[in-house]
């Protein structure tokens, strides 16, 4: 066991001897590392400066532009919407005023028509009633005369029926006097 451990230790010592304690300080391969490093850096530099960075920059600025544009457009649309709303309100107010005006006009017109019709009707009614009164008066007149006539005739007949000779003139006078009374 002990000898094996010792052997392992000696192997380790061999390994340590073959490679220096810090491989970083083995200057024999620095040239190689620096050579590959320079190539790597140059390749990375060209990949970045020729392809990657311009592309990412353009994507970022494009996105920034799009966002700015969208915001501006949204602002514009908002203004438009506000304008449209104002116009709508204006139209609504106008329409309401117009409607009120039309209602008032119609009312005035109807009132005027109504007044004319009423006046006409009243005139007609008064004309008709005057005519009727006249007719009634005529009828009454006619009736009076007929009554007088009938009364005279009746009186003459009555007088003759009583066997008396009727004097037409006195009968008329008597009837007239009676009618007046």
């Amino acid at each position: 066991m002990a000898s094996e451990t010792k052997e392992a230790a000696s192997h380790a010592a061999d390994a340590a001897a073959s490679a220096p304690g810090m491989p970083q300080l083995d200057f024999s391969n620095w040239g190689n590392q620096i050579f590959w490093l320079v190539i790597t850096l140059v390749v990375i530099y060209f990949i970045l400066s020729r392809i990657a960075l311009p592309r990412i920059a353009s994507v970022l600025s494009e996105r920034q532009g799009t966002i700015t544009n969208d915001l501006a457009m949204a602002e514009e649309l908002k203004l438009k919407a506000q304008e449209a709303e104002a116009a709508y309100q204006q139209a609504l107010t106008d329409a309401r005023a117009e409607a009120n005006k039309i209602v008032a006009d119609a009312r005035a017109e109807i009132q005027a028509d109504l007044d004319v019709a009423t006046a006409k009707a009243e005139a007609e009614i008064s004309a008709k009633s005057a005519e009727s009164e006249k007719k009634i008066a005529e009828i009454r007149e006619g009736a009076m005369e007929a009554v007088t006539e009938v009364a005279k005739d009746a009186a003459k007949e009555i007088v003759s029926a009583l066997g008396q000779k009727a004097d037409a003139r006195s009968v008329t006078a008597a009837v007239n006097a009676r009618l007046k009374g």
Binding site: A15, T40, T66
Partner: protein, 252 residues
């Protein structure tokens, strides 16, 4: 190899916490020449693939409403862009692709390194020193090109009392040149330490009594390492931005 097998047989403790950082040729052989494809090559290539998948394939829809991958790509873009703009200033956005390259490479390498059995390229000083020196040189050159000799005002603290200024200038100068050192060691050190600690806990798991604790510790460390992987990339990037700000506006 033999050691590991023996270690497992014996149930003894065999620690190789640093073996995970060994650079190996990808297709056999022993010698690593300048152009030999190694595990470094493989994992750097995978980092490139990951970045390509996220930032190019993920955004190929160019969608107005992003997909998940596109959201992450846009998030990464916005994160780094805002950092550059806020920390380094508006006139530094020209350096954005450069800084984004650093950030994407470090963050991808860090996260790929968290895959078990993987190789962490950012745990190597060779890598981080190059990254930090690149930043250091860029910042210094930019500072002198943009400001000329006025860039030296960075070291001349005009708000301090006059006798103190030369002393402060020396301190500022030293701290300026220490920047790439701390910048690189901070990243590699953090990443390497975390990975090594996980490996050490994994070594303890060979003892059956300790193994539950060990597994718990590995889990906790792994969670911490996920945090560290992002934070170190963030720290490296934001320090780059701070240095860049100094270069563009050197006055205190």
């Amino acid at each position: 190899m033999a050691t590991e097998a023996q270690g497992a047989e014996e149930g003894g403790l065999v620690f190789h916490p640093m073996d995970q950082f060994i650079v190996k040729p990808l297709f056999g052989g022993e010698n690593i020449g300048l152009f030999t494809p190694t595990n470094v090559t493989l994992w750097m290539a995978l980092a490139v693939v990951a970045i390509f998948a996220l930032l190019v394939l993920g955004t190929r829809g160019r969608a107005m409403v992003p997909s998940r991958a596109q959201s992450v790509a846009e998030l990464a873009y916005g994160f780094v862009y805002k950092m550059v703009e806020d920390v380094a200033g508006k006139d530094a956005v020209g350096f954005f692709p450069y800084i984004m390259t650093l950030f994407m490479f470090i963050v991808s390498a860090n996260f790929l390194g968290l895959i078990p059995m993987s190789f962490t390229t950012t745990s190597h000083f060779a890598v981080t020193v190059v990254l930090a020196l690149a930043v250091f040189l860029t910042v210094t050159v930019v500072g002198f090109v943009k400001n000329g000799t006025k860039f030296l005002a960075l070291f001349w603290v005009s708000s301090a009392p006059l006798p103190l200024r030369p002393i402060l200038a020396i301190i500022e100068l030293i701290s300026y040149f220490v920047r790439p050192v701390s910048h690189s060691i901070r990243l590699a050190g953090n990443v390497m330490a975390g990975h090594a600690v996980i490996k050490v806990f994994a070594g303890f798991a060979a003892i059956s009594v300790i193994s539950p604790v060990s597994v718990l510790a590995i889990t906790a460390m792994y969670g911490l390492e996920i945090l560290v992987a992002f934070i170190q990339a963030y720290v490296f990037t934001i320090l780059t931005c701070v240095y860049l700000k100094d270069a563009l506006h050197p006055a205190h």
